[in-house]
Point group: none
Chain length 189, copies 4
DNA sequence: AATGAATGAGACTTCATTCAT
DNA sequence: CATGAATGAAGTCTCATTCAT
C-alpha cells in the first residue's frame, strides 16, 4: 500500500482489542505488532510512543461517542425520546462492539484527565441535555452533573456486569428496562 | 511489635493509596517500600509476590464491604430502609476514605475474576436483597442482576465523577438524591 | 540536474553540518534527509551506507586540506614563510567554515585509522616540511613527528577553544600569534 | 559486599576503558556489564542512565586533573618550574593510564558544555597561572586564553598522535621537548 | 523479621537499511 | 533517480524478585 492508512487502522483495531482484553500495561507493543502482523518498529511510524497510541485511540473513540450522542441531542424529538434514543444507541453499540466499550471502560482512568475542555464527550452532551430539560420544565430539579452521573451509571454498570459475565443476555434486550430506569432518575415519567 | 503486623498494615495502607493514585502496574514495589519506610525485600516477608499483595488487598477490602452490607441486610428494617442505609453507608465510606473506593474501582478489572464463588460481595448482597424484595412483592419484577447493576451504577458512577473532579461537593450531601433514585429504579416509591 | 550531483552535494553539506553540530552517531539518516529535503531512501542512491558517507566525507575533506598545504609547501618561498602561509590558510578556513573544522575534529577519532598510507594529509605535509627544514638546517633538530604534533597543537587547540566558546574573537586575529608560536616551536626565529 | 562501592568502581573503570577504546555511543551497557562481570541492570543501581554515567565519569576525572594542576600551581616554585612540573605530571599520567587520557579526549566534545562554571579544570588552572605570570612580568603579554590553548595544544596533540600510533616512544621521553616548547610559547626562556 | 545490592527477563524505542512503487 | 512505508536488530532502561548478611 502506498500510504500507511491500512496499517494504521490495523494497529488501532488490534490495539483496542488487546487493551480491552488484557489492559493497557499488560499489552506489549510486541503483542500489538504480532496481532497486526507487522514489525514492532512499524508502530512507531504511526505513533510516537505507546502512550500516544493509547491516548489518541481513547480520545478519538471517546469523542466519537460524544458526537453520536450530540447528533441525537440535536434532533427535533422531545427529551424523553432523546434519552431513549441515546440508550438504544448505546445498547446497539455495546452489542456490536464490546471491545470498544471495554477499552473505553478500562482506559478512562488515567485518560479522562487528558480530555480537552472543549471536547464533545458523552458526559457533556448528557449533562447539557439534562440542563435544557430542566429549563424546559421537563426534567426534575437537581444538580445536572449528579443526574448525568446517575443516568450514566444506570446504563453503563449493567454493561460492566456483562463484560464480567454476571449478565449474559443480549444487551439489546435490556434497552427498555434501562430506558425506563433512566427516565425515572430524571423524573420523566 | 515483635511480629510484623504493624509493618504489614503499613504496607497494605501505603500500597492501597499508591494503587489508587497511580494504578497497580504504575506503582512499583520500590514505591511501596519507600512509602512504608521499609526495604524492598521486606515486602516479600509478608507477601509472596506483588500480585498476591494486590489480590489479597482487593479481596479482603471487597469482602469487607460485602460484610458491611450483609449486616445491614440482616437487620429487621424494611427493604426500603435497608437500601437507604446501604447508600448512606457507601456515601459515608467514600467521604472518609476516597482512596479505598478508588482502589477498588481501579482494581476490579482483573481482580473480579478472582473472587471466589462463595464470597460475600456487595453485588451478591444487593442482588439477594432485591430478589427477596421481589418475592415479598415490595420490589418490582425484573432480572435481579440487572436491577442490582442499575442500583450500583446510580450510586457508584457519581463517585467516579467525584474522583475525577466533575463533582466536587461533599459526597454525603448526595445521599438523599442517590437513595431516591435507587428507590425509583427498584419501584420502591 | 538529470544526474544526482546537486542532490549528492546537498547531502554532503547537510551531513557535514549536522555531524559537526551533534556528532556522527547522534545524527540520523532521517535528520540528513530532512535537512537535504529528500527522502531517506535517496541517501542510499549515493552512498552504500551511512558509514560510507561518513568515511568518504571525512577522507575527501581531510585530503583536500592536505592538498592545500601541499600546494603551499610546493612554492618557492622559504620555510618560515610557508609555515606562516599554512597557518594563515588555516585561520582563513576556520573563520569561513567552522563546521568543516568541527566535523574533521569530531570525526578524526575513528576515521584516522581509515586513512590510506599514501594519502596526502595535513599531518604528512607538515611533517615532511619539517624534515626538509631540518635537512636544510633551518629547523632545529628533534623528532619531526613530535614537532609536527606540537605545531599542529598550537594551531588547532585554540580553534577547539573557539568552538567551545572559550575564545570568541575572530579567529583571523590570532594568525600572527599562532605563527610566532609555531616558529618558536620549530626554532625558526 | 555489603555496600556497592566495589561494584561502582568496577563499572567506572570498565566503562572508562571501553569508552576510550570504542567511543561512548559504540559502547553498550551490555559491554560494560560484561566487562564488569555484573548484570546490565546493576549499572542502573549506581547511575540513573548511561548518560549520567558518562557525564559523572567525565566531570570527576576532568576535575581530578584540574586538582592535580592546582596543587602544582599552589607550590612555592617559580612559574617556569611549575609549567615544567605540570607537563611532567601530564606525561607521567599519560604513560601510566592512556585510557584515562583517551577517554577525556574522546568525551570532551559534548561534555565540555556540562562543566560547571566554578569547577577547577586544567584549562582554568593553566590560564590563571599564565595571567599571574604576566602580572609578575615573567610571561610575555597576550590573550591568556589563547596562550593557554597553545600550551595545551603543544602538550596534548602529541598525545593524540601517540594514541593513533603516529608516535610510539614512551611518552615520558618527550617531557623535556614539550616543556621547552611550552616555555617558548610563553616567552619563558 | 529486615535489609538492600544484585539479578535478568523483557518492555519500549530507535534507526540504518530495504524494496515496491 | 526518487520515494517513504516497512523492517528487525539492537540498544537503553525498568522492576519484580532473590539472597547473603
Amino acid at each position: 500500500m502506498r500510504d500507511g492508512t491500512a496499517t494504521k487502522n490495523k494497529i488501532n483495531r488490534v490495539a483496542m482489542e488487546l487493551f480491552a482484553e488484557k489492559g493497557v500495561t499488560e499489552t506489549t507493543t510486541k503483542d500489538i505488532a504480532a496481532g497486526a502482523e507487522i514489525a514492532e518498529g512499524t508502530i512507531y511510524r504511526h505513533y510516537k510512543s505507546k502512550d500516544e497510541l493509547v491516548k489518541k485511540l481513547f480520545l478519538s473513540l471517546y469523542e466519537e461517542q460524544g458526537n453520536y450522542l450530540r447528533d441525537i441531542a440535536a434532533t427535533e424529538k422531545n427529551i424523553k425520546q432523546k434519552i431513549a434514543d441515546m440508550i438504544a444507541r448505546f445498547c446497539q453499540l455495546f452489542a456490536e462492539d464490546k471491545a470498544l466499550f471495554t477499552f473505553l471502560l478500562l482506559t478512562q482512568h488515567g485518560q479522562l484527565r487528558e480530555v480537552p475542555d472543549d471536547m464533545v464527550t458523552p458526559v457533556v452532551v448528557l449533562r447539557d441535555l439534562i440542563t435544557r430539560g430542566q429549563n424546559a420544565g421537563a426534567v426534575k430539579q437537581g444538580d445536572p452533573d449528579l443526574m448525568a452521573a446517575m443516568v450514566l451509571g444506570v446504563v453503563v454498570q449493567p454493561a460492566v456486569f456483562h463484560v464480567y459475565g454476571r449478565l449474559t443476555q443480549d444487551y439489546k434486550s435490556f434497552t427498555q428496562d434501562l430506558t425506563e430506569a433512566a427516565w425515572g432518575v430524571l423524573g420523566l415519567n
